[in-house]
Amino acid sequence: MKKKLIFLTLFLLVLIALNSCERDDICIDEITPKLVITFYDKDDPATVKAVSNLSAKIFIGTEADSIPLFVTDTIVSVPLKVTEDNTQYILTIDSNNGALLKRDTLTVSYIRENVFVGRSCGFKTIFKNTTYQLDSNNWAENTETISQTIDNETDAHVKIFH
């Protein structure tokens, strides 16, 4: 009887050991791509032109939330919503200077498609048939689509001339 108990205990220990295995993989693949915007000179469309102190806000519901972004650069990447068919950004330049700042609203519309990546990463969304619309021209003049499909972050997807 005692032997049986030892055996049962041993068996339970093995069971518990098997159940407490740690996860063996972490997500290293590409997940949902961000929108990559490059900035060009409106007077010389072939030349990149940096934006100064760009800040970006994104509409979540009716509230606009700041994306942790504060750049002076010719290229920027911003996240896209995976629950709606469009994302609206408020892009502000010279955002560190209250007197000079200018803001424009950019609306990106698209068709979403969910793609399975793997066990650790789960699903990502890719965006197709993207279109861009500027609501005003306070600093940004116009846009030019580079790629209608957003499925990676290696190349820019849209140009903004300013």
């Binding site: 032997k3 049986k4 030892i6 055996f7 041993l10 068996f11 093995v14 069971l15 518990i16 098997l18 159940n19 063996d24 993989d25 997500c27 997940i31 949902t32 961000k34 994104i58 979540i60 994306i67 942790p68 996240p79 896209l80 919503k81 995976v82 629950t83 969910n114 793609v115 399975f116 990546v117 793997g118 066990r119 650790s120 990463c121 789960g122 699903f123 990502k124 969304t125």
Partner: protein
């Protein structure tokens, strides 16, 4: 004598002592015979595991038939329903499987005992369905609050084939009643993958690791239906 046999067999099961050191030369006074027959049983891993983990329900029938002193033809037939919860999604696998192959007993028994330390191989086939219960799109952490859980989707008529190697022990604890446990290493041969998803769990194979390998653990109780005896 019976108690002694019982004790020895339990000891065998507990310690897994690979003792091949008995002398063979001596002639026995009585002629020892091996029992041949059909051994049938069930796997206790899933029924017991249900106490710890409600997301795994299943039953497996095991059987083997002795064909020679060392060799057994063996098969397992099972059904399994298992829910896997990952960081970004949750899915349920539902299906049945059949494994067939052979076991080789590498243990030299003392007197008329019928214990086994064996290696075996199996070829497994499973048909199943995967149901994606929910998932969250893996997006930039800034928009994490917007992440969504979408409705389940069922992928049917999937199948998989694999090969496995088994290492196990069996001990006769009472007359014709055996307890055993075994570990198995598996390697996927082919799978029919769902479109837009992946077979990350297969009944009978368990979790499919990145390099298409898998592991299993069985704890069985089985009964030998003795059909005839043959000289040792």
């Amino acid at each position: 004598m019976h108690m002694l046999k019982y004790f020895i067999n339990i000891f065998f099961l507990l310690c897994c002592i690979f003792s091949f050191s008995q002398e063979n030369g001596k002639k026995q006074d009585t002629i020892l015979k091996n029992k041949y027959g059909l051994r049938v049983g069930i796997d206790l891993f899933n029924p017991v595991n249900t106490f710890f983990n409600e997301e795994r329900k299943g039953l497996e029938l095991v059987g083997d038939y002795r064909i020679s002193k060392k060799w057994y033809v063996a098969a397992e037939l099972g059904y399994l329903e298992n829910t896997t919860d990952e960081d970004f999604f949750n899915f349920t696998t539902n299906g049945s499987y059949l494994k067939a192959g052979a076991d080789y007993n590498a243990y030299k028994n003392w007197l008329n005992m019928e214990n086994a330390i064996y290696v075996g191989f199996r070829y497994g086939y499973s048909t199943f369905s995967q149901t994606l219960n929910s998932f969250t799109v893996n997006n930039d952490p800034f928009l994490d609050a917007l992440a969504t859980v979408e409705e389940g989707q069922k992928f049917e008529n999937l199948n998989a084939q694999w090969a496995e190697i088994i290492l196990g022990i069996k001990a006769e604890v009472f007359n014709n009643l055996y307890l055993g446990f075994s570990f198995s290493g598996k390697k996927m041969v082919s799978t029919k993958e769902p479109e837009g998803f992946k077979n990350l769990f297969v009944p009978g194979f368990n979790r499919v690791f990145l390099n298409d390998s898998g592991f299993g653990f069985n704890y069985t109780i089985s009964y030998l239906i003795p059909l005839y005896k043959r000289d040792k």
